[in-house]
C-alpha cells in the first residue's frame, strides 16, 4: 500500500509543473499587470513631466524630486507622516496590550464587548472618520459641549478641534489610534492565547507578580506577534490617506497633509501626475523596510 502511495505521488509530481503553473499562472499574471506594471509606470512618471490632459511626455531626470524636496509643503507632509505613524503606534501598543489582557479572561458578555470594541476596525474607514468629523464639529461638537458644561471653557470660546494646526494633528492621530487599537488588540490576543499556560503559572508559583510576569515573561514571548502588530499598524497609518482627506483635507494650511494626501492633492486634484508619482514613491523605502522585517519575523518563527 505504501509503495502504491509513493507511485501515485510520483505520478502527481511528474504531472505537476504544468498543472501547477496553469493554476497559479493567472493570479501571478494578474498581479504583475495590476500591481507590477503600475509601479513601473509610477517610477517612469516620477522622472517625466506627465500631466493630466497632456499627451506629450519627456524625460526630466531628477527635476521632480529636486522641486518637491524644496517645497515646504512636501517637507511638512513627510514630517507629518512620520509623526502620525510613530505616535499612533506608541499609543496603540500601550492601549492594545492593556485591552488584550482585559479581554483574555472569559466573562459574561465577552462576545458583545468584543463586537463593540471591533467596530472601528470593521466598519468602513471613511464612514467611521465622518462620524468623528461630526464629533469634532466646529460648532456642534459634543466634546465642546461637555467641556463647556464642565466649565473648562466659556460658551463660544472653545477651540475648533479641526481648525487649529496642533489640535487638527492631534485629531488625526486620535482617529488613527481609534481605528488601529481593535486590530492590534485581536492580534495580541491571538499571541497571548498561544503562550503555554504553564509558563506564567510556574512564574507565579516562583513568586513573580503581575508586572514581573508581564514584562519578563509574557511580553518577551510575544515579541514576534508584537512586531507583526506594529509592522501592519505602521503600514496602515503611513500609507493612509482616507482619515486625513475626510477629517481635515490636509488643512488648516497644509498642517495635517501627509505623503499620500499630498500625492493626491498634487497628482490628481492638481493634475501634476509626475510630481504626485514622485511624492508617493517616498512611501517605498518604508514599505521595503517593513517587508524585510516581516520576512524576518516569519523566518524566525519558522526556524523555531
Amino acid at each position: 500500500m505504501a509503495v502504491a502511495g509513493a507511485k501515485i505521488k510520483s505520478i502527481g509530481a511528474a504531472q505537476s509543473p504544468l498543472l501547477g503553473f496553469a493554476m497559479f499562472g493567472p493570479a501571478i499574471l494578474y498581479i504583475l499587470l495590476v500591481i507590477g506594471a503600475p509601479f513601473v509606470l509610477a517610477v517612469f512618471y516620477a522622472f517625466s513631466d506627465a500631466r493630466i490632459g497632456s499627451t506629450s511626455l519627456h524625460y526630466v531626470g531628477l527635476e521632480n524630486f529636486r522641486s518637491i524636496l524644496q517645497s515646504p509643503s512636501f517637507r511638512k507632509a513627510l514630517w507629518n507622516s512620520v509623526v502620525f505613524t510613530i505616535s499612533a503606534q506608541i499609543i496603540v501598543m500601550v492601549c492594545a496590550n492593556i485591552l488584550s489582557i482585559a479581554l483574555e479572561k472569559k466573562f459574561r458578555g465577552r462576545g458583545l464587548v468584543r463586537f463593540l470594541i471591533l467596530l472601528p476596525w470593521v466598519a468602513p474607514v471613511s464612514l467611521g472618520t465622518i462620524g468623528w468629523k461630526w464629533i469634532l464639529d466646529s460648532i456642534y461638537s459634543v466634546i465642546t459641549w461637555v467641556l463647556i458644561w464642565a466649565h473648562v471653557f466659556k460658551p463660544y470660546s472653545a477651540p475648533m478641534w479641526l481648525g487649529e494646526p496642533k489640535l487638527a494633528m492631534a485629531s488625526v492621530i486620535l482617529v488613527h489610534c481609534w481605528r488601529l487599537i481593535p486590530f492590534s488588540t485581536v492580534i495580541l490576543l491571538a499571541g497571548r492565547t498561544a503562550i503555554p499556560k504553564e509558563i506564567p503559572e510556574a512564574a507565579a508559583i516562583d513568586g513573580a507578580g503581575f508586572w514581573r510576569t508581564l514584562f519578563q515573561i509574557n511580553l518577551p514571548m510575544m515579541l514576534p506577534i508584537l512586531s507583526v502588530a506594529v509592522l501592519f499598524g505602521t503600514i496602515f497609518t503611513f500609507t493612509d490617506m482616507t482619515v486625513v482627506y475626510i477629517l481635515t483635507a490636509g488643512g488648516p494650511y497644509d498642517s495635517t497633509q501627509t505623503l499620500p494626501s499630498l500625492a493626491f492633492a498634487t497628482g490628481i486634484q492638481g493634475s501634476d501626475l509626475a510630481a504626485g508619482a514622485a511624492i508617493s514613491l517616498f512611501l517605498v523605502p518604508v514599505l521595503v523596510a517593513i517587508a524585510y522585517l516581516m520576512l524576518r519575523v516569519a523566518h524566525r518563527t519558522e526556524v523555531n
Binding site: F24, F115, L119, I187, A190, T239, F264, G276, L283
Partner: protein
C-alpha cells in the same frame, strides 16, 4: 477582610473599569451616529441643549431624506454589484493559485506564496496615480468596471495567503485516495478539496466583500459622477451640498452601511487574524 477585598475585588474593579473605558471610547462614534440618526434638526443643531438625550421627539425625517432624496440606495446597489464581481474574480484567481502553491510546487510554492503575500503590503496610495491613467486609457473612467478590474489586486494576495494555510491543513492522502479512484489531480482538487474547504472559501468571500466596502482611494480617484459612487465615497463626499452637511442623514447612512459589514467580519475574525499573524503564532 480588607486584604480579601484588595485581593479579590480590586483586580475585578480594575478589569471592569478598563473594559468600560475602552468600550465607551471605541464604540462612541457609532452610538453618536444612532443618536444623530433619530434627532430632529432643531435638536441636532442646538448648542445649548444636552446633546446626549432627545430634547425633541425622535424622528424618521433623516432616514426619509436619505432614502428618498439622495442616491444612497443606488450607492448601496453599486457597492453590492462591484462586491459580487470582485468576489467572483478573487475566488477564480486565488483558489487554484493557493492550492497549486500549497501542494504542487514544493519549496518554490512557499517562496512564491510569501512573495504574493508581500504584494498585499503595496498600498493603493502608491499606485493610484499610474492606475488612474491606465483606467482612463482603457476608457473605464467614471465606470464601476474600473473598480472591478483593480480591486482584486488588493484582495487576491491576502486571499491566496489565507487559502494556502487552509489547503496545507488538508491531508494529502485525501487526494491520493481520490486519484486511486481514477480522478485526475485537477479533478481531485475540484471534487474533493474545494467542497471541504468551504469555510476557508467563505472567509475569503467575507474578507473580499469587506475590503470592497472599505476601499476609498481608488473609488475616489477613478469615479466622479454622483450616481456611480460606492457607499464609502458617496456618503462622505456627496451628502454634503456646498458647505452644508446633512449630519442626521449622514450619520444614518454611516450606520446602515457599517453595521452589516461589521457583523459579518466579526463572525470570521479569528480566521483573518490567523492570516495576519504570518505564522508568528502557532495556534
Amino acid at each position: 477582610m480588607k486584604s480579601l477585598l484588595r485581593r479579590k475585588l480590586g483586580p475585578r474593579i480594575v478589569h471592569v473599569l478598563v473594559l468600560a473605558v475602552f468600550v465607551v471610547l471605541l464604540a462612541f462614534p457609532f452610538y453618536w451616529m444612532v443618536i444623530a440618526t433619530f434627532k430632529q434638526n432643531l435638536d441636532l443643531y442646538n448648542v445649548e441643549a444636552n446633546p446626549f438625550i432627545f430634547n425633541l421627539k425622535p424622528t424618521l425625517d433623516n432616514l426619509h431624506l436619505l432614502f428618498m432624496e439622495t442616491r444612497f440606495v443606488r450607492w448601496l446597489g453599486n457597492t453590492v454589484f462591484v462586491g459580487v464581481l470582485v468576489v467572483a474574480i478573487t475566488l477564480l484567481l486565488s483558489i487554484p493559485a493557493a492550492y497549486a502553491l500549497a501542494r504542487l510546487t514544493g519549496r518554490w510554492g512557499e517562496r512564491l506564496g510569501i512573495g504574493i503575500f508581500l504584494t498585499y503590503l503595496v498600498p493603493p496610495t502608491l499606485l493610484f496615480i499610474p492606475l488612474s491613467r491606465v483606467v482612463a486609457i482603457l476608457g473605464l473612467q467614471d465606470s464601476l468596471w474600473s473598480l472591478v478590474l483593480v480591486y482584486p489586486s488588493v484582495t487576491v494576495p491576502f486571499s491566496v495567503w489565507l487559502l494556502m494555510g487552509f489547503f496545507k491543513s488538508i491531508p494529502k492522502e485525501l487526494e491520493d485516495a481520490a486519484m486511486v479512484d481514477g480522478l485526475t489531480r485537477f479533478g481531485a482538487f475540484v471534487k474533493m478539496v474545494v467542497p471541504i474547504s468551504m469555510s476557508g472559501i467563505l472567509t475569503v468571500v467575507i474578507f473580499t466583500f469587506t475590503l470592497v466596502t472599505q476601499e476609498f482611494v481608488y473609488a475616489l480617484t477613478f469615479i466622479s459622477p454622483e450616481s456611480n459612487q460606492m457607499v464609502g465615497v458617496g456618503i462622505p463626499i456627496f451628502l454634503v451640498r456646498g458647505d452644508v452637511y446633512f449630519w442626521g442623514s449622514l450619520m444614518a447612512a454611516c450606520l446602515i452601511a457599517s453595521l452589516p459589514v461589521a457583523f459579518l467580519y466579526n463572525l470570521f475574525l479569528d480566521r483573518f487574524i490567523a492570516g495576519f499573524t504570518v505564522g508568528a503564532v502557532k495556534g
